[in-house]
């Protein structure tokens, strides 16, 4: 049994020991990285499902923490997609989230929905929310789940 008994999603992790190895891999400074963000707002409570950038779009529903964990978040996940971010553990109004996702599917007629979450158990709630939104919607849409670990490595990537 692990020494830590609390919530895995709140467990303190010191990742500084990886700094040296990372520098070795990346080599010389690469300069500024262009943002792939093409909309605002991005928080799920604030976005409008009727916004033009959601119409027929490939939508990324990202758990808040993923943008910090995944080094290539913009290049690997955000590029070409419209974005909504949320935290399934701390955010209130999950029922509003559900309705908003259903509206994105039915009225925004989105092309695909990709849910990017952390490996921590509480993040599973965001996948469940998206799954429920797809099953409760009048339209069907391909739903993909990508789970990353605390260092941003992909643990699983699958169509649901």
């Amino acid at each position: 049994m692990s020494e830590f008994q609390g919530c895995p999603g709140s467990r303190m992790m010191d990742l500084r020991h990886n700094d040296e190895a990372r520098e070795d891999v990346t080599g010389a400074p690469v300069g500024a990285v262009a943002s792939e963000l093409r909309q605002w707002p991005i928080q799920l409570h604030l976005v409008s499902p009727q916004a033009p950038y959601f119409q027929g779009a490939d939508v990324l529903l990202a758990a808040d923490c993923t943008a910090y964990a995944v080094g290539g978040f913009h290049k690997d996940y955000l590029k070409g997609k419209s974005l909504a971010i949320a935290c399934p553990k701390l955010d209130e109004g999950q029922d509003i989230y559900l309705e908003k996702l259903k509206t994105l599917i039915d009225e925004g007629r989105i092309n695909t929905l990709t849910v990017l979450t952390m490996q921590v158990p509480c993040c599973r709630g965001l996948v469940n929310l998206a799954t429920r939104a797809v099953s409760d919607s009048g339209r069907k849409v391909p739903l993909k789940s990508v789970v990353v670990d605390l260092q941003g490595e992909v643990l699983s990537e699958e169509w649901l």
Partner: protein, 288 residues
Amino acid sequence: MTTYLNSPVKEVIDHFPEVGEILADYQVGCVTCGVGTCLLKDIIEIHHLSAEDEQAAMGRIAKVVSGDGVTTATERVAPELAEPGEATASASADRPGAAPAGRVKAAPRYSPPMQQLVDEHLLIKRWLALIPEVLESIDVQAAEDRQLILDGVDFIRSYADRFHHAKEEDILFKYFDETQAIIQAMLTDHDKARAHARGAADAVESRDKDAIAEHLSAYRALLGEHIKKEDEILYPWMDRDLTTSQVGELFRRFAEVDKTSGIDVGDKYSRFVTRAEEIVGKRRERIQ
């Protein structure tokens, strides 16, 4: 080695049967493929071997085609086997889409549009499974039996071909280079299947029991193998190449085909297969 890498796998196996055995060791079933036009160099990528397995398999194949005797599963392609200017045919861990090292081949999980095609295969396979018993008990002088065959041919033409194969030929394959050997092999299968459906229909017309059996049995063997290739090789390979956006697009276009084909095409032919199963079941009971 380059010569063999750019040769159809069937030709390579004909020259070096041991290559077929090596491929079989990695669950690459080219030996039983009736077409075998895929190039050897494409085979490894299409089957998504892990980088380690790819390296080992290519190393063993290189040894065989160079007449270098016994091989082990851990050897790389020796650089000396490569022709001048040729990159060694060893596994490239950097190759996009290479399976992670040590990965065990698991049942593929398809994208939603591919899953739809796999699900359509299930109904086709139910009809294929009935064919031997249908042929065993058929009386070509009986109108009811002739109708069962004609309904089966209609299922092949309308569901398996116009509905299902059309999704592949008119939509899915367009996302890929259709000159690739593996896609050409699938198209050849489709054409052969159409010819057998025509042959079976003509044979019913002339009440030629042997010809009915010949065409439907050949169709069954062909489609059984064809579906296996698509489910296990083609679709997973395509899924690895499709972007998320393309998956969404395919899903939408398939839904449009379902809609324009008539809302009941699936139901209608599902009812046919169920009815055929009942008929065969009753005949089986009578025999027992």
